[in-house]
């Protein structure tokens, strides 16, 4: 999809004659809206691949988990914390936020961005519900939060998207580093079903991950609350189709996020131990070098939003100056702050509370456990579980309908072209032809004098024919130099015809 981004750049250059930000942004209002829409969508394809949006998301969870058949370990957790929380995946977001002066002039592109973001947020949250790999759960949570950010961009709330990028970096890095500490201390185990009861062994890591999870699910007044909750409110405050779509899916996602976060906390730290005894005996709190970053990130996950929210997303804040452009008709912060009914404002927090409580109840009470086990006893339940656990089966469809097609073309090219046509007219064919010609010519050596005289006669006739054909054809004067083509054709024909194995066949 970087190809899409490249085409976007080419289109920008073709339309504006420059890819300099200042030039593009100052000319954007005067350009054809359809052209801007196409450019916006092309930029979106780049952002979708980088920021793991549907349908280009499958690389992100894949890079986290232990590959099913591999004995090699996956990406180191600090790398996940840096790349998948703070830097790489947010590059797509940065592209979209930075391109705000272009995107603002295409309502279609903004609509598509909102729909993609909201769908991704919900999709990833539903997948995260039933994952069993510790890092993969956090990876799906990352995709879900990226969906929120893209959604905010689509709703023209670039500053809120950017604040969520920053906030998300804090609590997601905290969660990843916490997960790394757990995995390292627990004999490199990543399967949450084989953990449990670790609160007794890793109290600090538990605290850190709890803080990260609470911030992630937008617990009021923690960091995540100031951006995530606002995105959902801003969606409603649009009073439009895309806003409603984003609001409903965003609110549901908030509930699901709370559920899978507390499912993770319950299965890893609370409930009964499900791991091996030796793993528990060897588990230990991480060293100071790990604890210090966890502590700092935990502090930021709690206080950053409270301290900096007015700077980033406050009504009338000019923090971003000219870096971000929001068209006046798309500003909805006033409506979000002052026109929303109380129930709508409280809904995401309420759903989060329900989700979190439900997870704690289900994974701690006997009835809840039986209920969750019983879900997969029915045929439908099993299908739904397989579908969600298999990430909506995107990978199966991609593998069988896209990757397989590509591999087949590869094999076809290899068999028919590389080892077929090119080989026949290339190295193998040439050497074979020359060998055959040699073999066939050697057969002419019969030792019979009359045969030799026949060869001499044929040779003489051929020469005469070669020399006089031009005169017969167009009555011009004979110039052998110009008619070398005939000689070449004659010689080539001699070699090729003689190379043919028809002589051998005759013998056979």
């Amino acid at each position: 999809m970087d190809m899409g981004l490249s085409i976007g750049f080419f289109a920008l250059f073709a339309l504006f004659g420059s890819i300099d930000y200042a030039t593009v942004f100052s000319l954007a209002p005067f350009m054809n809206e359809t052209a801007i829409t196409i450019i916006g969508l092309l930029l979106l394809t780049g952002a979708m691949a980088k920021s793991a949006q549907i349908p280009l998301h499958s690389w992100l969870p894949g890079s986290m988990e232990v590959k099913r058949f591999s004995v090699n370990k996956n990406l180191p957790t600090p790398v996940s914390a840096l790349i998948h929380a703070a830097t790489l995946v947010t590059a797509g977001l940065y592209l979209l936020v930075r391109s705000s002066p272009v995107l603002e002039y295409s309502s279609t592109a903004l609509l598509v961005i909102t729909l993609v973001g909201a769908s991704t947020a919900f999709f990833a949250a539903t997948c995260g519900l039933v994952q069993n790999d510790l890092k993969r759960i956090i990876a799906f949570s990352t995709i879900s939060q990226l969906g929120y950010m893209v959604m905010a961009v689509g709703l023209s709330q670039y500053n809120v998207a950017l604040m969520h990028v920053v906030n998300h970096a804090f609590f997601k890095a905290l969660l990843f580093l916490g997960a790394g500490a757990v995995i390292h201390s627990f004999s490199d185990q990543q399967d949450v079903r084989k953990m449990g009861g670790l609160i007794q062994f890793l109290p600090f890591t538990y605290t850190a991950m709890l803080v990260g999870s609470l911030s992630l699910l937008a617990t009021p007044w923690l960091t995540g609350f100031y951006s995530k909750d606002l995105i959902i409110e801003l969606a409603y405050a649009q009073y439009s189709f895309s806003g409603t779509y984003a609001f409903i899916l965003g609110s549901l996602t908030a509930g699901l996020t709370a559920f899978y976060s507390f499912r993770l906390i319950s299965l890893v730290f609370l409930t009964v131990p499900n791991g091996t005894k030796s793993a528990y005996l060897h588990s230990h709190e991480a060293s100071t070098a790990v604890i210090i970053p966890l502590f700092i990130l935990a502090l930021f996950s709690i206080f950053f939003g409270y301290v900096f929210s007015d700077l980033f997303v406050g009504v009338g804040s000019d923090f971003f100056g000219n870096a971000i452009f929001t068209h006046p008709r798309n500003i909805s912060i006033i409506e979000a702050e002052f026109s929303l009914p109380l129930i709508i404002k409280l809904l995401p927090a309420f759903l989060s509370l329900i989700g979190a409580s439900l997870a704690v109840f289900i994974y701690h009470s006997k009835n809840g456990s039986q209920f969750i086990i019983g879900l997969t006893d029915t045929a439908l339940g099993k299908k739904v579980y397989t579908f969600l656990n298999g990430k909506y089966l995107f990978d199966v469809v991609y593998n069988n309908y896209l990757i397989a097609g590509g591999l087949n073309i590869g094999y076809l090219i290899s068999k028919l072209l590389d080892r077929g046509v090119i080989e026949l007219i290339g190295p193998y064919g040439l050497s074979n032809t020359l060998t055959n010609t040699g073999v066939n010519f050697s057969k002419l050596d019969t030792g019979v004098i009359t045969t030799y005289s026949l060869y001499i006669t044929i040779g003489l006739l051929s020469l005469i024919f070669l020399v006089f054909t031009p005169i017969l054809l167009d009555n011009s004067i004979i110039i052998i130099k110009e008619e070398m083509r005939l000689v070449i054709i004659y010689l080539a024909a001699l070699v090729l015809v003689s190379s043919n194995s028809f002589l051998n066949k005759k013998e056979n």
Binding site: P29, R68, V396, Y401
Partner: protein, 161 residues
């Protein structure tokens, strides 16, 4: 005598051969006679079995599930451990289920569009200077909502008094 012996020997050999095959490939392989690809030349024509289907343990190369010196299948890119994963559900079923999910998202979108959009409780914001037309580049189509001079009932009432 000798013919019955040889028959018994042949049956034992075939049975032993079967045992070896079943040990090497735990998943039963149905053999379909096919013409050998002439491009293979004298290279062994190996069965179409993905390494992912073989038992996980007991190999010289644990990760790639092959023993030392085992010839590699011609289509190794597809059949090795690094090839595309064997689908956990039949691909057609997966396509159907994914299509259902996508339809659900689209259907929900239509539901939102036609039934769930809340009514705007306020009048959309208006901007002075003809909707900031000059500030936004000077084009009419890019300007914000223009101020409308509506005479509301309250001001009319005030005027009456």
């Amino acid at each position: 005598m000798s013919s019955s012996m040889s028959r018994r020997l042949a049956s034992i050999i075939s049975r032993r051969h079967f045992n070896i095959v079943s040990r090497a490939y735990a998943t039963p392989v149905t053999y379909k006679p096919h013409e050998k690809d002439p491009q293979l030349g004298d290279y062994p024509d190996l069965p179409w079995v993905s390494s992912q289907e073989l038992p996980a343990k007991g190999w010289w190369d644990q990760q790639m599930r092959r023993n030392f010196g085992d010839p590699i299948q011609e289509y190794d890119e597809v059949l090795s451990m690094w090839g595309p994963d064997i689908p956990p559900v039949p691909p057609q079923k997966a396509l159907f289920q994914l299509s259902l999910a996508i339809s659900a998202f689209v259907g929900f979108g239509f539901l939102c569009k036609y039934a769930l959009v809340p009514e705007r409780p306020t009048v959309p914001r208006e901007y002075p200077y003809s909707g900031l037309v000059r500030e936004l580049g000077g084009l009419e189509e890019n300007k914000a909502r223009e101020e409308t001079e509506e005479i509301d009932e309250i001001s009319l009432l005030c005027h009456d008094f």
